[in-house]
Symmetry: C2
Subunit: 209 residues, 2 copies
């Protein structure tokens, strides 16, 4: 729903024929799962769905937009991650904690994220899609172009360590709801996780050869 | 399967009538989900399954054993957590990383854990069960009786922060398989996560009033 409203705002696109939309989404899920994000093209999805590629663009926008629709991702991390990393090196860990917690703590933006994480973990097809998307797209786009002083060779491992921190928090606080973490105040959680994020970003790590 | 073999070794119990076993498991899942771990008793499960309580004990052992069977938990964390925490305060963070990674990296013990995590996250009923079990049982039994010098008031939050670290790693390395973390060597991961575990155990945190 959030995605839909975002889509409408961004492109002013129409929801279109529900059957056509659904056929495109089904084809997209199958292709993303079978061939991965990079190898899947709008053209291939259109062919599989029996529609014109222009219609796929018209309904869903870019390939990334289509992917998010296919896996029901509630927001586009590529939109807010660069904002966090535009801050100073010193401020980034806490800004990351605050932004992430802010999105997940908010009932409106948080609930679709919980559903998204549940789907990504519980469903093997969705897992592969999400792994492709986060592993390749976010790393490449958002974390790859930083001004944090992190050596390029360390960016891939550090970005997955950050993901490990944030997804671990999401899992325990919002999905499994382990107490007292689930009910801990915003500021408590920010203070508790910022040092671990700082370590993941800047601390000593061993980069595999 | 691991659980089954463990069960057979521990108690020498027999698998029993498959229909009766299944009826007990179904009743147990329903009761654990509806009433929680503490309020569910072997007697209530037996009544719901239409069998004698002695038969539930005979097939499944204790209530914890029954719970693990109901959610298919592959091993009993209460068995290995005390061993880790018997070490010196300084050694605990790395021992925790090594033990956790050792279990998950091993194809035999790791695969059921991945299935367990998938189930716990993807299925709402299982989520509640796992949350109860880890949140209450592990915290109470394993982490509550430590000799780490952690103030008692901080044990609950710190234990959930440790869970957040370890489950985040499990999610990214083994379930979502984010690269390069998924393929990183054992020692790389140990070195990368130990400082975050050290922080979760001993670092400055804000304990909610």
């Amino acid at each position: 729903m959030l995605y839909e409203s975002g889509l409408m705002k961004r492109g002013g696109r129409r929801p279109g024929n529900p059957n056509t939309r659904e056929a495109i989404l089904v084809a997209a899920r199958e292709l993303f799962a079978a061939e991965g994000f990079d190898a899947t093209t709008i053209r291939k999805v259109a062919t599989a769905a029996g529609v014109d590629p222009a219609l796929v663009h018209h309904y869903f926008g870019t390939k990334e937009d289509l992917f998010r629709a296919a896996v029901s991702a509630p927001v586009d991390p590529a939109e807010f991650i660069p904002k966090i990393f535009a801050r100073s090196r010193e401020e980034i860990p806490e800004a990351l904690a605050r932004t992430f917690l802010g999105v997940w703590d908010d009932p409106v933006t948080g609930r679709p994220f919980v559903a998204f994480l549940r789907t990504a973990v519980g469903n093997r097809v969705a897992t592969k899609l999400v792994s492709e998307f986060f592993g390749i797209q976010i790393q490449r786009r958002a974390l790859g172009a930083l001004h944090t002083g992190i050596p390029a060779a360390e960016v891939p491992l550090r970005s997955t360590l950050v993901a490990s921190q944030l997804l671990g928090l999401a899992l325990t606080r919002y999905v499994l709801r382990f107490e007292p973490l689930a009910s801990a105040p915003f500021e408590t959680v920010v203070a508790s996780i910022t040092p671990a994020l700082r370590h993941a970003l800047y601390g000593p790590i061993v980069v595999p050869a």
